[in-house]
């Protein structure tokens, strides 16, 4: 089974770089004079541009981390990737449904903004955890 829609291995490091660049900018957004929210009354003002640039940096970083090949991307890794992607989508929608059930109109956009990156984050964390578990089992077998 060939993984046709994955980025090359080196893209993972580019993704980590983009994500790390985005973090301090988002943490300092108030000091930089932005509220980090999407467009208000108009688009293409400085606030909107800041939101677009930071969001694009974060999302492209997470996509590259999530969907770059492993050093050896074989069929077992591909299967693990597919299973984990399915599990993370289920998990995301369970969390989303629960969040929406306990959300009023004011919090709705916050839930949706978190949901922009939550499925990718769930997938990355679960996939890394499963790879770590696989490697631990090998070490146990070798011991």
């Amino acid at each position: 089974m060939k993984a046709r829609f994955l980025f090359p291995y080196w893209c993972k490091f580019l993704g980590i770089g983009l994500f790390l660049v985005h973090l301090p900018v988002m943490l300092l957004k108030k000091q930089l004079g932005f509220d980090g929210a999407p467009a208000g009354d108009s688009i293409f003002n400085s606030n909107h541009s800041f939101f677009m640039i930071t969001t694009l940096t974060m999302l492209s970083g997470l996509v590259l981390i999530a969907f770059s090949k492993e050093r050896i991307e074989d069929e077992q890794i591909t299967q693990l990737r597919m299973d984990t992607l399915q599990l993370s989508i289920y998990l995301n929608y369970v969390v989303l449904i629960i969040s929406l059930a306990f959300t009023n109109r004011n919090d709705f956009w916050d839930v949706m903004r978190v949901n922009m990156w939550a499925p990718l984050m769930f997938f990355i964390l679960l996939f890394r955890w499963k790879l770590y578990r696989n490697n631990s089992i090998i070490k146990d077998d070798a011991a």
């Binding site: 089974m1 074989d74 069929e75 077992q76 890794i77 696989n134 090998i138 077998d141």
Partner: protein, 66 residues
């Protein structure tokens, strides 16, 4: 599905890493196949059988539950 890769490796005196390199997969994959946690594709099963110079059915066997 059961397999006798561990035994075949011992006969041929090669490690999981050697076998992984010969067929172009990771060592983790060989480990998960040996411990029956992953069922390989037909292509991979044929590659493994070719390394040991035996038919696939001698290395991989169906179980009653399959």
């Amino acid at each position: 599905m059961k397999n006798s890769i561990r035994i075949e490796r011992a006969i041929k005196n090669i490690t999981q890493a050697d076998l992984a390199e010969l067929i172009g997969v990771s060592r983790q994959t060989i480990n998960t196949i040996e411990s029956n946690r992953y069922v390989p594709s037909t292509v991979l099963a044929l590659k493994i059988a070719r390394v040991f110079g035996k038919p696939v059915e001698e290395i991989f066997n169906l179980e009653d539950t399959d």
